[in-house]
C-alpha cells in the first residue's frame, strides 16, 4: 500500500516533467480564526480536481507546522483515510501558522536483473534501497512543499521566514490578507534566493462546476516576485516547479523542486 502511494507521489513530483499532473493540496477548514479555543481542521489529498478528495490521500509523514512564535507544533487526530488524510490543530497561539507537508527525499532509476526499476525514499535509505548489482543508476533529489496558512487573530510573519531549502513563498502581501478585487504580491525563493523566471500556475477551487481549469499562468520577475489579481473570493491553488543540479545528496545528479500553496481569498 505504501509503495503504491509512494509511486503516486512520485508521479506527482515528476508530473511537471512528464506532462501529466495530479494536484497536491491541503484544504484548511478556514483561514481566519477567533475565539477562546479555535481549532483548524485540514484535508490533505492528491487529485485532479480542486478541491475534491477523489483520488489519493496525501501522506502526513512530512507534516511540519510552524506556530506564530516560530516553534514546531504537532497536529492532532492525524489519519490517512481512503481518499484524504485529515488532521486537527488547536490554535493555542495568536498569529499566523504555516502548515506544510514537506516531502524531502530522492528517487532513483536503474537497471537490475535485466529490467528497469524505480525506487523512492529518504536520502538516508539510498544506500540500502538500491541493489548492489544495479547499473545505469540515476539518482534525483526531490523536495516538494505543500502548504497553507491560517491566522488566529491578526496576521504575523514570524512563521513565514524561509527555511532556505527548496521552493518557498515569502509574503509581500500577507497570505491571510487576501481579498477579492485586490492584487497580492509574493516573492518566490529557491534555496532562500529569489527565483526569477519561475512559471507559477494559479487555479481557483470549484473546478467540478465549470468546463475549464481557468488557470492563470504567471512568471516571476528578476527579483522572484509575482503579482496575482484575485477577482473572486474563494480557495485558490498556487503551484510551481523547477529543477536544477544544486543537490545536497552526493550521488544525485539533479534535483526536482515542487511547491503548492492553498490560499483563501475573502470577499470584501
Amino acid at each position: 500500500m505504501h509503495r503504491f502511494l509512494i509511486a503516486t507521489l512520485l508521479a506527482c513530483v515528476v508530473a511537471p516533467v512528464s506532462g501529466f499532473a495530479h494536484k497536491i493540496w491541503l484544504l484548511p477548514s478556514q483561514t481566519a480564526f477567533s475565539g477562546n479555543d479555535p481549532w483548524l481542521t485540514v484535508d490533505a489529498a492528491v487529485s485532479n480536481d480542486l478541491f475534491y478528495f477523489n483520488h489519493f490521500p496525501l501522506t502526513l509523514r512530512g507534516l511540519k507546522i510552524v506556530a506564530p512564535n516560530g516553534s514546531i507544533v504537532e497536529a492532532e487526530n492525524q489519519h490517512e483515510l481512503k481518499y484524504r488524510s485529515v488532521f486537527d490543530l488547536p490554535l493555542t497561539q495568536r498569529g499566523t501558522y504555516r502548515v506544510a507537508v514537506v516531502m524531502d527525499g530522492a528517487f532513483a532509476s536503474f537497471m537490475a536483473d535485466g529490467e528497469r526499476r524505480r525506487w523512492r525514499g529518504s536520502a538516508d535509505e539510498l544506500a540500502t534501497g538500491i541493489p548492489e548489482n544495479a547499473e545505469n543508476v540515476q539518482i534525483t533529489e526531490s523536495i516538494t512543499r505543500v502548504e497553507t496558512f491560517v491566522t488566529n487573530g491578526g496576521p504575523t510573519n514570524e512563521a513565514l521566514t524561509a527555511s532556505g531549502r527548496g521552493i518557498e513563498l515569502i509574503p509581500i502581501t500577507h497570505p491571510n490578507d487576501l481579498y477579492a478585487g485586490e492584487t497580492a504580491k509574493f516573492q518566490m525563493l529557491v534555496n532562500g534566493e529569489p527565483a526569477s523566471d519561475l512559471k507559477v500556475t494559479v487555479i481557483q477551487g470549484g473546478t467540478r462546476y465549470r468546463n475549464t481549469q481557468e488557470e492563470t499562468e504567471l512568471t516571476t520577475d528578476a527579483e522572484g516576485k509575482l503579482a496575482i489579481s484575485f477577482s473572486e473570493p474563494g480557495m485558490y491553488w498556487l503551484s510551481t516547479s523547477t529543477s536544477d543540479e544544486d543537490t545536497s545528496i552526493p550521488q544525485a545528479t539533479s534535483r526536482r523542486l515542487g511547491y503548492t500553496a492553498t490560499l483563501e481569498v475573502l470577499p470584501q
Binding site: G35, N36, G154, Q268
Partner: protein
C-alpha cells in the same frame, strides 16, 4: 407679528451659533430590522470610523453574543463581520471597554459618545466614513456607510438606509455644550 419675527430671528441666530460651536456628542442610531424568519438570531454588529485609506481609526461599538460559552463568549464568530475583522477586529483583544456590548434585539439603538471621548482625539480634520456592518447567524451580512467631514458641526445629521440586515442608520452631531 413683530414678536413672531423676533422669535424667528432669534431661532435663526441660534442655529447660526450652533454651526459655529463644536457639538457635544457624536450620535449614531442603528436600526435592526424585524425579520420574519423561522430561525432568528440577533445580528453581530460593528460600528467604526475609517479614514480615506479605509484604515479603521476609531471603534464605536461591537455587539456580539457576550454570554460565556466554551467557544469564547461568541468571539468565535467575530470574523463574520469580515470588513471590521480585517480593518480592526483581528488585532484587538476582546472584550474592549466602551466598545464591546451584548447583541441587540430588533429596533432602533442609539449610541451617544461625548466628542471629548479619547477615540475622537486622534481624528485630524478631514474626510471619514462611519461604517456599520451586520452579520446574522443563518442570515445575511450587510454594510452601510455614511461619509462625513470631521469636525462635525452641531445640529448636523446624515442618514443611510440598509436593505436586508440593517434598517436606517443615522449619524448626528449633538447640540453644543
Amino acid at each position: 407679528m413683530t414678536r413672531l419675527l423676533c422669535t424667528l430671528v432669534t431661532v435663526a441666530f441660534s442655529v447660526a451659533a450652533y454651526a459655529d460651536e463644536a457639538p457635544k456628542t457624536f450620535d449614531v442610531s442603528v436600526e435592526i430590522p424585524k425579520l420574519n424568519v423561522s430561525e432568528y438570531h440577533r445580528p453581530y454588529i460593528a460600528v467604526w470610523i475609517q479614514d480615506s485609506n479605509r484604515k479603521a481609526v476609531a471603534n464605536i461599538a461591537v455587539w456580539y453574543q457576550m454570554k460565556d460559552s466554551k467557544e469564547g463568549a461568541g468571539t468565535k464568530w467575530l470574523p463574520d463581520l469580515r470588513q471590521w475583522w480585517r480593518r480592526s477586529g483581528r488585532s484587538l483583544e476582546m472584550p474592549v471597554d466602551g466598545v464591546s456590548g451584548a447583541s441587540r434585539p430588533a429596533g432602533k439603538h442609539t449610541i451617544s459618545l461625548p466628542v471629548s471621548d479619547s477615540r475622537f482625539k486622534v481624528l485630524s480634520a478631514g474626510k471619514y466614513e462611519l461604517i456599520v456592518e451586520a452579520s446574522r447567524e443563518v442570515g445575511g451580512r450587510e454594510v452601510v456607510s455614511i461619509p462625513f467631514q470631521w469636525p462635525l458641526s452641531a445640529g448636523q445629521s446624515m442618514k443611510a438606509q440598509g436593505s436586508d440586515e440593517l434598517g436606517e442608520v443615522v449619524l448626528s452631531a449633538g447640540s453644543p455644550k
